[in-house]
């Protein structure tokens, strides 16, 4: 197994369906947005708008597909130096990874994501601009499983 992001020639599959989309250069987080009050949701909310003052029907019919901004600014960041427990699928030996919390200006919210392999906490700063891409989270004999990842904008 590998999380290096280096292609192994296996099929690529999203590690979760419907949470992100697009090819490199236009990867977007997918969620939903309330057509009544405008609140966007990630992960997707299909049940009912959760704004308690929303005037919409709040039966789910008000929620439409929504693709989030591609770029944001680092709100904070951290890394993991030790192998986390399952259900995280870890390569052997374990490879540390970095996580960033990123503030999206348009959506006025903070979204977590792993940072692309090779970028460490030393390369990050609060306020730094980052953009969304896709990276390999883990691999098995069948496929490479991908997830959304943040990477610094050069």
């Amino acid at each position: 197994m590998s999380t290096t992001g280096v292609s192994t020639g296996r099929e690529r599959r999203p590690a979760i369906q419907g949470w992100f989309t697009g090819a490199d250069g236009d990867v977007r987080l997918l969620g939903t947005r309330c057509a009544s009050c405008g609140t966007p949701y990630f992960p997707r909310n299909e049940l009912a708008c959760r704004n308690p003052r929303c005037a919409g029907p709040r039966d789910g019919s008000e929620l439409e597909e929504y693709a989030f901004s591609r770029r944001g600014r680092v709100w904070s960041y951290a890394d993991s130096r030790y192998k986390p427990p399952a259900p995280y699928v870890s390569p052997d030996p374990f490879v540390p990874y970095t996580v960033a919390a990123v503030e999206l200006e348009t959506e006025r919210m903070v979204v977590l994501g792993q940072v692309v392999p090779g970028v460490t906490v030393d390369d990050l700063e609060v306020g730094m601009e980052v953009e969304l891409t896709e990276g390999v989270l883990y691999t098995d004999d069948d496929a490479e499983y991908t997830v959304w990842m943040w990477r610094p904008v050069n």
Binding site: P85, M109, V111
Partner: protein, 397 residues
Amino acid sequence: MSTRDIAVLGAGMHPWGKWGRNFVEYGLAAARTALADAGLTWQDVQYVAGADTIRNGYPGFIAGATFAQALGWSGAQVSSCYAACASGAQAIANARAQILAGLCDVALVVGADAAPKGFFKPVGGDRPDDPDWLRFRLLGATNPIYFALAARRRMAVHGATLDDFAAVKVKNGRHGLANPNARYRKEVTLEDVRESAVVADPLRLLDICATSDGGAALVLTSMDFAKRHGITKPVRIPALSTVTPTFPKTVLDLPDFATDSAMAVPEPDRPFRSALPHAAYEEAGIGPEDLSLAEVYDLSTALELDWYEDIGLCEPGGAEDLLRSGATTLGGRIPVNPSGGLACFGEAIPAQAIAQVCELTWQLRGRAEGRQVENARAGIAVNQGLFGHGSAVIVTA
């Protein structure tokens, strides 16, 4: 005396540690100690409020009944609750409401845990619909990752340093030295913290609380019962808050992938963690200036600094100065975590919020040997857990 007062007649713990035994044993020992402390017997108890553990099988899901059976079925009314780190406080809240409603006079509150080693992880099984499962699977977002994100944010916004974080550990380590229920009773130096391994940058091993086995219990009664029992000035709980967040919740918490959006509705005036003590202050009719001490949930050293601001000991951004001034150290103006906090206990989830109130009780009685806050009159205990849970309990002499 407020009509919302209840009396704390008994407090008891099973020492924290890694004992490797069943959680029921810890809860039973804590309950017996609390009953003895109150001068009451199990037969006097009319209502048992258990705080659940979700990592110890079915008996943990129904902790109230499990402890009632272990003490010996007595026909008492029972409840069991779960609210992550606030479980113990919700159990206290359940008992308090029963007492204030006049539905019972004597209640026993018990929480105990036998914790797994290492990182907390989701309960077993493949559960791709469960955010607590998905955050591990898709992000590797362990608890320390969230603690580290908050710590780094504090460094960037308020100028906290790694040595500030370490100083919290040194302070709490010293506070807990004489606490017989603490798991770690050893002086820790700045060097020790600095040299401990980085777990989740910027946090080191000694910045992050361990997971422990332990148990805590309280005997709570009506003020009238306390008086009839000969206790005219018991330690009291005049206020307890378990408020939920207000939409949009714009602070990132475990196990979230994202905050709520503030596009449609502006952020609430008071973020979640400060809303918890605010509601309790309102109920008690006191403010942070009236506090003699505080027990706050130091899941990480950095988080203790956030709490200083959230409970109103200083303005946002003032925590580092407050810490550096020595005000929050025993002997200072407003000692925080005189028990030693999670730094010395490690976390035994359902027991922890109850243990905080045990400590406040002993402090307000003037019997916190080796860690006594002088002239303690009022204290607050606060915590926060996953999924919009948290609590603030005010205890007065």
